[in-house]
Symmetry: C2
């Protein structure tokens, strides 16, 4: 029987968040200095590059970003001429997002840098460990995504 003592360093949610923040901070500051993009902004660029003509709503669903966050990022990117928005003829409340030529160019610069950064951070791990790691992340997502964690009042 294992001792039921809580040690913060061994507490998995803490470990996970600690590591994740470490990585996010490193990446965020790299993007900020290299391209002047915040993380939400760079995520929009990436998602739109993959899915031309996507709507903000869909981006929010896909990335779990708040719709306000998405809206602000979209406005900022449009203001910088990286993004073009046109009314969605199928639903005039929403708009279709497309990268402008400049946006595509920027993306062309970002993508390899992002991959290089990823390699710098994760490249040291061997393929099997990495695959297992990703699989575990997905399993966690599945559990957390479906369950809820508030024990009925007691």
């Amino acid at each position: 029987m294992t001792k039921s003592v809580l040690v913060l360093d061994d507490f998995l949610p803490y470990r996970l968040s600690f590591t994740s923040n470490l990585v996010s901070d490193a990446i965020a500051s790299a993007y900020e200095t290299l391209f002047g993009l915040s993380i939400p902004e760079w995520r929009l660029v990436a998602v739109i590059a993959e899915n031309n003509g996507i709507t903000q709503q869909m981006i929010g669903a896909r990335t779990r970003m708040d719709k306000v966050t998405v809206s602000r990022a979209a406005i900022a990117l449009t203001g910088r001429g990286l993004l073009k928005r046109s009314v969605n003829p199928a639903d005039r409340r929403s708009q279709l997002l497309v990268l402008s030529r400049q946006g595509r160019e920027l993306y062309g610069q970002i993508a390899p840098k992002a991959l290089a950064l990823e390699k710098q951070i994760f490249g040291a791990l061997d393929k099997k460990a990495l695959a297992a790691f990703v699989a575990t992340l997905k399993r966690i997502e599945a559990v957390v995504g479906t369950a809820h964690f508030l024990p009925a009042a007691e």
Copy 2:
């Protein structure tokens, strides 16, 4: 040769942050509803329970929380009577933090809940996968902690 295309869903820093946020949100809302504690506050409680008489500065170093965050959490906990602070005789700028009786009682309630929550989330994974997962997290920390990621201007 692998195709060098960036797919957001396959981009590890993104996956990691996505999953971590999912878990953090679930945990944060559980603590908030059960005990009225924010994540920083609950971390302080945990760290102080483990290290009686620790200083804020040390907590910051250990958890990578900003010293202002630590300060606020400490003030809030003290205000709620969960924490006692006494001047550090060895260095009168700093204070030694100790849980009050109520604080220890609360911790006594929190700790098992936290472990239960952890089990709910990670219990589905088998031990080996879990150990590998933690090992990978630590390797990532080591890499990110030491390297810096801003390619010299180019």
